[in-house]
């Protein structure tokens, strides 16, 4: 049974990439295949998540694969967001997109999804590192899909900073491994999650600290945490919209997942005081950078990118706040994945319509295309942390956890920054929605069905925000238990 689940999770994306690679003459067929295959992967993730939510045993296949509640949550998000991205990606509609974009997109998007899924479902933290590093390569190749100078430079910057950052994470991994190997246990299983957790209490405190610093800087680079976030606004704004959705919605979450895993190990070795302090500092700085930069943005995709930085900062901050904080962080990451991927996917439609990335050049969105405008407004409101969306709930929980963990000053500061982000997002989006649209902008609305698909994640956000569904609540609290016992 477990074998089937893991196979159903991992095979569809890699097969989609293969089909797109081999069927070079028929990109449309390959696109349809991936649009049918990815939901299978998402369904497997749902099945795994349901089983773990109701207290089932982790899904284990041999030594290599192990999905506990935390992995299941991430796999679920990856499955959902990737499905959305494949449905709205190039190749499925007849208009506007040149077919030369279809094939590379399908190949690399499939591989990208595959590497992310491997990262969360492997039991070996070394393999986790390898696949997170591979996500850099697979996604960097897709950024310059339209071959503009800015996109190629963004891709280069991302590749270099990402690779170097992730190399530092590997240094941390190796340090932890060296530490483990010298406790005299079997080095062959050293980076296996269970073995590592069992050995954690006997790790050397100072080495564990050193390792965690490297790991936080390294995976923090991938998660867009300040001050290593500089690649993120360029990469996310230059990438094609479906890729931006995947990178922002789930890749950042996967990097945060890696930090959370290692935090659990290091906490067992030296208690949580050290990691909590590090995460609080990095998280607060990141929220500050994200919020402060939101106000001065002139392009809507960069606006969304800085909003990602802000939200990742919040989640990182929350990871340091005990069990309630970890729960809130995971809920926040969930909400962010749904809202941000919808916002980025819509930004692609807005760009296709107006042919401009500037906020000032896309007025009158509600007039030219009411459905797109309304959905975009809803996604941005969700990202701004307005009720009834789930990000409101998780932000309240984060503030509450920070307060009860005894950080009144930090709580006030973060609250202030959240309000600042809220105000800047609303100011900017208001410029886009109202006003008079340029005369040459098309007013018809194609692909309504696919637009309707985007209403589903928003409805889920409202559902989670209004009445946190019991299965999700249980999944989140079990996942939080993995991070901090």
């Amino acid at each position: 049974m477990d074998v089937v689940l893991v196979a159903a999770l991992l095979v569809p994306p890699v097969s989609a990439a293969l089909v797109a690679l081999l069927a070079s003459r028929r990109p449309a067929a390959a696109a349809w295949y991936s649009a049918v295959a990815m939901p299978v992967s998402a369904a497997a993730a749902v099945a795994i998540a349901i089983r773990l939510a109701f207290g089932g045993a982790p899904v284990v296949v041999g030594q290599a694969w192990r999905l506990d509640a935390l992995s299941a949550l991430l796999a679920l998000l990856i499955g959902l967001v990737t499905t959305l991205a494949t449905w709205l990606g190039p190749g499925l509609n007849r208009q506007s997109v040149p077919s030369s974009e279809t094939r590379p997109f399908r190949v690399y998007a499939g591989l990208f999804a595959f590497t992310m899924l491997v990262a969360v479902s492997t039991s070996n933290l070394g393999v986790m590192w390898v696949s997170i590093e591979a996500t850099t390569v697979t996604s960097a190749l897709l950024i310059p899909l339209r071959r503009t100078q800015a996109a190629i430079e963004a891709s280069w910057k991302y590749l270099l900073i990402g690779s170097v950052g992730i190399a530092l994470a590997f240094t941390g991994t190796v340090l932890a491994f060296v530490d483990y190997a010298s406790t005299g246990r079997d080095p062959a299983v050293a980076l296996q999650w269970m073995a590592l957790v069992a050995a954690a209490p006997s790790l050397h405190p100072e080495v564990a600290q050193l390792a965690f610093v490297f790991l936080l800087v390294g995976f923090g680079t991938k998660a867009g945490l300040a001050p290593m976030h500089t690649w993120l606004p360029d990469a996310h704004s230059e990438a094609p919209a479906p890729l931006s959705a995947m990178m922002s919605g789930v890749l950042l979450a996967v990097a945060l997942y890696a930090i959370a895993r290692w935090k659990a190990v290091v906490d067992l070795a030296i208690g949580s005081a050290f990691t909590d302090t590090m995460l609080l500092v990095v998280g607060t700085v990141t929220v500050f950078v994200g919020s402060a930069s939101l106000l001065s943005q002139t392009q809507y995709k960069r606006l969304l990118a800085f909003s990602s930085i802000e939200h990742m900062g919040l989640a990182c901050f929350a990871l340091a706040l005990g069990p309630l904080g970890v729960f809130a962080a995971l809920l926040h990451v969930t909400g962010h994945a749904l809202a941000k991927s919808v916002a980025f996917l819509l930004s692609g439609r807005i760009y296709d319509r107006y042919r401009s990335a500037d906020i000032d050049h896309v007025p009158g969105l509600l007039g030219t295309s009411p459905p797109t405008g309304i959905l975009f407004l809803a996604a941005v409101l969700a990202l701004a942390g307005l009720p009834p969306f789930s990000l409101f709930l998780s932000e309240i929980l984060i503030v509450q956890a920070a307060w009860s963990a005894g950080h009144p000053l930090l709580t006030a500061l973060v609250l202030l920054l959240i309000l600042l982000a809220f105000a800047s997002l609303l100011t900017h989006v208001q410029h886009m929605l109202f006003g008079e649209a340029p005369a040459d902008v098309a007013r018809d609305e194609g692909g309504r069905l696919r637009l309707a698909v985007l209403a589903v994640p928003l409805a889920m956000l409202v559902w989670i925000g209004v009445a946190l569904p019991e299965p999700l609540r249980m999944l989140l609290s079990r996942a939080a238990e993995v991070v901090g016992r």
Binding site: A134, L160, A167, T171
Partner: protein, 192 residues
């Protein structure tokens, strides 16, 4: 082994980055082989051979080809001058010794004396990446960083598990291939 770190340190100002990287990789493979022989870890022979093929042969060849396609007049212009670079590298090396003190306490293998060198190599390579503007210098800096980590793993624990090792090799190869695919495009679009 100290020589290994020195190679990077003084090759700082020489344009022959690629040659330095090749020499460093050969030295790394040699360390791997020595550890395999005296540490009694036969898998490491395999790893050493892989290092030799990939990092001392394939990757330098790709880099040289990139170098050959580069316009000849472009000189390597570091953001920080040579004297300053050497000073900073010296400081980083001292810092690495300080940082690795707890590590040396933990490791009981005979190779632990080399651990500070590995950390110094990692930090100096990182410095190379951030202080050079030239793309090839940045790539070489990144690859040297990888070498530093490999050295750390070799000396600290006689190498990481084989699956991880292979994955790392694959990533390095893919990374370099992608980088080399991007670089000419970057020039073509900028008209240079």
């Amino acid at each position: 082994m100290l020589l290994l770190a020195l190679v990077v340190l003084w090759r700082h100002h020489v344009p022959a980055y690629v040659a330095a990287f090749r020499m460093q990789s050969i030295a790394l493979a040699f360390v791997g082989a020595v550890v395999a022989r005296y540490g009694g870890v036969p898998e490491l022979f395999f790893v050493a051979a892989l290092i030799l093929v990939l990092k001392a042969w394939i990757v330098p060849r790709i880099l040289s080809r990139m170098e050959a396609r580069r316009p000849a007049d472009a000189a390597l212009q570091p953001l920080v001058n040579t004297e300053m670079s050497l000073l900073v590298s010296g400081a980083l090396a001292v810092a690495a010794y300080e940082l690795s003190r707890p590590l040396a306490e933990v490791v009981s293998l005979p190779t632990r004396g080399g651990l500070p060198i590995a950390l110094a190599l990692i930090m100096v390579s990182l410095f190379v990446v951030v202080s050079r503007r030239q793309v090839i210098a940045q790539i070489v800096g990144f690859l040297m960083l990888e070498n530093g980590i490999a050295l750390l793993a070799l000396l600290g624990a006689y190498g990481v598990p084989l699956v991880v090792e292979l994955g790392v090799f694959l990533d390095v190869l893919m990374g370099v291939l992608v980088m080399q695919a991007l670089v000419p495009r970057m020039r073509r679009t900028s008209g240079g």
